[in-house]
């Protein structure tokens, strides 16, 4: 820093806010040079590496010497480009990439998370906060007795190790390939159920609604539920006639009911 000070002093504040974020190609080397030059000039005459003595060996080499340094440049020109045009083109990740978490749903739309807090327990970074809730006949969010009422992941803490999804007994918690996790405040980096919960796929019925009649939470985990039933749809229709998931879920349920009879 002191050496740089001897050279051209950049105007105070120039390098911060009002400077364009990416320096243009022409200015960047200039910037680097003033500090470096006087220092090198002051040192010994022996060059750092012995280019000249190598090139001495052949005339041809001597002839190309001035442009030899462009060899790498030239060959690279004809190789495929590795630069990712990230914000404009999103590169796909590896299939098992550890990205943002997702709280999954059963095919009938009930949430898989039971609020057991095993993910929070497993988390080495203490990034997960869970508060469980009590399902009631009028508000059944997940199969069985218990559901995740509050679910938060703090992405300022999360190290994407994936231990939480290994701990999850219901496969409620998985990781997506979404890596775009940035925010402007700390609060925004704490993701809650509204962002973490998987969106309803077409044919799913928005929770809360009763479980499929006659099935237990165990049957749900074993995958015995393939979609909402007409009873579930009727239950929601009675209580939340304006629910957006109703029409698709209703169609799916009717289809399934017919299919079952055939």
């Amino acid at each position: 820093m002191a050496e740089q000070g001897k050279g051209k002093k950049p105007a105070p504040g120039k390098r911060s806010g009002n400077q364009p974020k990416r320096p243009t190609a022409s200015r960047a080397p200039e910037r680097a040079r003033p500090g470096a030059t006087p220092a090198k000039a002051g040192r010994a005459k022996t060059p750092a590496f012995d280019v000249d003595s190598d090139l001495d060996k052949s005339g041809l080499a001597e002839f190309f010497a001035p442009v030899a340094g462009f060899g790498v440049t030239m060959s690279t020109l004809f190789r495929p480009v590795v630069t990712e045009q990230y914000p404009f083109e999103k590169a796909p990740t590896a299939p098992r990439y550890h990205g943002r978490h997702q709280l999954n749903r059963h095919p009938d739309g009930l949430e898989k998370c039971i609020g057991c807090e095993l993910c929070a327990w497993a988390c080495p970074a203490d990034a997960i906060y869970v508060e469980a809730g009590n399902n009631t006949p009028e508000a059944q969010y997940s199969p069985g007795e218990r559901y995740g009422k509050v679910y938060q992941i703090n992405y300022l803490r999360c190290i994407f190790c994936g231990l939480c999804i290994e701990a999850c007994p219901t496969r409620a918690l998985t990781m997506t390939n979404d890596y775009e996790l940035a925010g402007t405040t700390r609060e925004k980096m704490i993701f809650e159920k509204d962002t973490l919960l998987a969106p309803l796929r077409s044919g799913m019925l928005a929770a809360p609604h009763p479980m499929v009649a006659g099935l237990s939470d165990g049957d749900y985990y074993r995958g015995d539920v393939s979609g909402p039933t007409t009873e579930q749809v009727a239950w929601v229709k009675e209580r939340r006639p304006e629910d957006e998931s109703l029409s698709a879920a209703g169609a799916a349920a009717t289809r399934a009911a017919k299919g079952g009879k055939e």
């Binding site: 057991c116 095993l118 929070a120 327990w121 006949p137 199969p143 069985g144 099935l215 237990s216």
Partner: protein, 884 residues
């Protein structure tokens, strides 16, 4: 006084030591020690579920199997043919025990036992409240197999069952260890659940005609019995607030009173128990859970703080678990000298009051223009309060009503503040029925008496006389200890009361039936002051035996002459005495002199020497010498304008003998400063309201009824202030240094008040007023508070409220018949100010007495009737009125 003959027998007699070998180690233990506990003494842990050191051995779970060999007559070691349950076998000399550490047989037996227990155990851990602190989880890991050979379908029961509004039972998870049922029957005496059915099989009687073995309330619907006795699918009642694994609503147990009246709780079930929460804590699995804590957190979320329960004067040790600034549950602490491992449901579940929406967070002052209370800064509020108090000091003066829920340290600050800043002796902690006689009695017998009668003594005293005290309602831990002593065959309890309550029945107490107001004559008869009638002669002789303990409750203050007579009785019988008040701060308040005639350490205000003594500790030139007024005196003076300002602490107007009179006085008082945790009925009369830290936000010491200091730590870091700090700030603003900044400061000063040798307040000698005759149609009112009632300390806990007794009026069958009332009919009890209508429960008691709960929903005796215990009230049948 402490060295009495009775406390010795078990402690002093040398206990024979025997030596046995456990895992190759020689162990010496007192004769009679169970093998499982002998192993503990050398650090060998045998897995167990049903064993509990405070319950009788049951051998129910078979988890503690070990290999045992005992020497026969010739001294040859004889191995027992099969592994034995170490929790039921007493160690014998020369016994050789091999636990799982040294015996492959024991190890295999234990592993097999875990496998058996898990055969029908659900895979509930992720949704089970016990997960993370579950002995079954832990011991399955430490002593079980990693895999199970069981491939069939597990037996399931409909669940969860709401045993009471607070207690939920999950029969799938129960391992039938019977800790809960043994606690209920042995310790609490409320066998509200028991083992029913036999063997495995189906939940109901399908298959072999008997329901599977399970815990429950013998509820026909749950056991699937139809009224006709046939078995079949019976629909049990369902509850709307919990669901089971099929998404079906939870099952309600025993609703719609199969047994009558007073034994019902407010939810309509047979009354469970005031101690039912302990079963949740000792259940080694998650079969018993509480509605309040259900799914609220995991053990690793919780930060625990050891504390002391604030609801009664027993000072029970508790553990407060909180998560992110919210208390989620309280558990019983383990203090063998006080509450052993049990607490009341009130101590366990009633903590929501500390976070209710009416908790004060900022000082409030009354806006001059609008007359509304508006939040302000501490400095402004303190400044205004100091101005007001200074003005009052120049005028007619100020008085203090600190209330009975203070810590010792806070009470001390009140005492010092009143004497040095307000310059008066007008202070009274008693926010309830009280008398000058009581003040003298407390100053004479209780103040400065130190630790005399203890919980341990209650267990060993040959006879305990209860006067004006219902231990089960007013001091749960006292009740449990008396019951323990009674069951051990050591204690005979006698109670002077108008009727045999459920609590005294469980103590198998001898009842000296006494109508309210007649206590003095009975006490004098027992003391031999007046002639002893024949039926009391035996009791009089028994009380004179050495070791008798007399316990008196605070209610006795309402009967003129009762405490004077009690004093004579205690002296005449040479008995030991303890005063068992209802509030956590009562005993401490007496010790620091929150009474008009009392200074700290039992020093009477009237003694010049005592005043000089105290003044020198406090560094003031002199203390006010004029005798102070008690609560009623203060309120009357405020009404008459003889007092300008009132400094009011945590008092509940409903407890006062006349809430209406108190409201008039507060309205009339020129200037009212309130120091409170929550908004209360006093707040609307207050000019300045200063918020005080609830117990979780401060540390301090309660002095329990024994006089034992019960220090507790702070749960939350907070800027909330204690009474002592706030009074210190007020004093600073007035220009006095109160010196109560830290607990250490206060303790240092308190220590200087030990050992007062000077004269004490004389014992009261108040003549009993003759009980006024009753007019026709009148009866005498008996009333006391129930443990679970309308008290503000239980606010915000509906599950607990559902387990309270349903309020009823108790009448003798004859009186009920005269009025044409059958059980459940409603009776109107009319007092001077109004009437209370409650269902009737005929109960064996005097014909001229009616009992009402003092402050339960629908029965606020002091406010509604305008009468206190002993008053004459009129009874009418409500349904008869309607018919007319």
């Amino acid at each position: 006084m402490t060295a009495t003959t009775n406390s010795s027998s078990s402690a002093v007699a040398p206990v024979e030591e025997i030596t046995l070998t456990i895992d190759g180690l020689d162990v010496s233990v007192p004769k009679g020690t169970l093998v499982i506990r002998a192993a503990e003494t050398v650090g060998i842990q045998i897995p167990r579920f049903c064993d509990h050191p405070l319950l009788k051995p049951a051998g129910a779970c078979r988890q503690c199997l070990v290999d045992i060999a005992t020497p026969d007559r010739e001294g040859n070691l004889r191995p027992m043919p099969k592994p034995q349950a170490s929790c039921t076998i007493e160690a014998t000399p020369g016994m050789v025990v091999n636990t799982q550490h040294t015996s492959a047989v024991a190890e295999k037996a234990q592993r097999g036992q875990i496998e058996f227990l898990l055969v029908n155990h659900p895979l509930d851990c992720p949704v089970c409240d016990k997960g993370g602190e579950c002995p079954l989880q832990n011991q399955a890991m430490s002593n079980g197999s990693a895999t199970s050979r069981f491939v069939d379908i597990k037996r399931t029961f409909p669940k969860p069952i709401k045993i009471s509004t607070q207690i939920l039972l999950d029969r799938d998870r129960c391992i039938l260890c019977q800790r809960c049922t043994r606690f209920s029957a042995e310790i609490a005496g409320d066998p509200f659940i028991d083992l029913q059915g036999r063997g495995g099989g189906a939940p109901g009687g399908h298959g072999h005609g008997l329901p599977a073995q399970q815990i429950g309330r013998f509820d026909e619907a749950i056991l699937e019995y139809t009224p006709s006795g046939d078995q079949g699918p019976v629909e049990s009642e369902r509850t709307g607030d919990v669901v089971g694994p099929y998404g079906q609503a939870g099952v309600l147990s025993s609703v719609a009173g199969s047994i009558g009246g007073a034994l019902e709780d407010t939810s309509g079930r047979p009354f469970a128990s005031y101690f039912s929460g302990n079963t949740i804590q000792i259940c080694p699995v998650g079969a018993l859970t509480s509605a309040a804590y259900r799914f609220r957190s995991r053990p690793f979320d919780l930060v625990s703080t050891a504390s002391i329960a604030e609801h009664d004067a027993c000072g029970s040790a508790i553990r407060i678990d909180h998560r992110r600034g919210v208390v989620l549950r309280r558990l019983a602490g383990d203090d063998p000298a006080v509450n052993e491992e049990w607490i009341t449901d009130k101590d366990r579940f009633a903590f929501a009051w500390q976070t209710s929406s009416d908790v004060l967070t900022a000082p409030l002052v009354r806006d001059e223009e609008t007359g509304e209370l508006v939040p302000t800064s501490w400095s402004e509020a303190i400044g205004l309060a100091a101005d007001g108090l200074r003005r009052a000091g120049d005028g007619a003066g100020a008085a203090a009503l600190p209330g009975g829920r203070l810590t010792l340290e806070d009470a001390y600050a009140w005492s010092k503040f009143t004497r040095t800043v307000l310059g008066t002796n007008d202070i009274d902690f008693r926010a309830r029925v009280h008398s000058a006689e009581e003040a003298d009695f407390l100053a004479n017998r209780v103040a400065g008496s130190g630790l005399d009668v203890t919980f341990g003594d209650l267990e060993r005293a040959p006879r305990v006389l209860l006067v004006g005290l219902e231990p089960e309602e007013e001091a749960g831990t006292v009740f449990l200890r008396l019951r323990k002593g009674m069951l051990a065959g050591r204690v005979q309890v006698t109670t002077i009361a108008p009727l045999a309550t459920r609590g005294s029945t469980k103590l198998r107490a001898e009842l000296v039936r006494t109508a309210p107001g007649e206590e003095p004559s009975v006490l004098d008869a027992l003391a031999g002051v007046t002639g002893t009638p024949e039926h009391l002669a035996d009791l009089r002789a028994a009380l004179a035996e050495p070791g008798t303990v007399v316990l008196a409750g605070e209610r006795l203050a309402g009967v003129p002459g009762a405490l004077s007579a009690l004093d004579r009785l205690v002296s005449a019988a040479g008995a030991r005495f303890a005063w068992v008040p209802r509030r956590a701060g009562d005993r401490g308040a007496v010790e620091v002199g929150l009474l008009p005639g009392l200074l700290p350490g039992g020093r009477p205000t009237a003694e010049a020497e005592a005043r000089v003594d105290v003044a020198s500790v406090w560094g003031v030139s002199e203390l006010p010498a004029a005798p102070g007024r008690d609560l009623t005196g203060i309120l009357d003076a405020a009404t008459a304008g003889e007092i300008d300002a009132l400094v009011v602490g945590g008092i509940d107007l409903e407890d006062l003998p006349s809430p209406a009179q108190a409201e008039v006085a507060l309205a009339a008082a020129g200037f009212v400063v309130q120091l409170e945790v929550r908004r209360s009925a006093v707040t609307q009369h207050a000019d300045i309201v200063l918020p005080i830290a609830p117990t979780t936000h401060k540390s301090g010491t309660f002095l329990n009824w024994e006089g034992r200091p019960r220090p507790f730590g702070q749960v939350f870091t907070t800027s909330a202030l204690t009474d002592a700090r706030v009074l210190g700030m007020l004093a600073d603003a007035v220009g006095v240094d109160l010196g109560t900044r830290t607990l250490e400061d206060i303790h240092r000063e308190l220590a200087e008040f030990d050992g007062w040798e000077g004269p004490r307040t004389a014992a009261p000698a108040v003549e009993a007023t003759p009980v006024p005759a009753l007019d026709a149609g009148q009866v005498r009112l008996a009333t006391w508070r129930l443990m679970l009632d309308s008290g503000r300390g239980q606010d915000g806990e509906p599950h607990l409220a559902g387990t309270a007794y349903r309020p009823v009026a108790l009448l003798s069958p004859a009186t009920a018949a005269t009025l044409g009332l059958a059980e459940g009919d409603r009776v109107r009890v009319t007092g001077p100010d109004g009437d209370i209508v409650l269902p009737v429960l005929p109960t064996p008691m005097g014909d001229d007495v009616v009992w009402l709960p003092q402050h339960s929903p629908g029965s606020s005796v002091h406010r509604t009737l305008g009468a206190t215990a002993g008053a004459a009230v009129r009874l009418t049948a409500v349904d008869a009125e309607v018919a007319r």
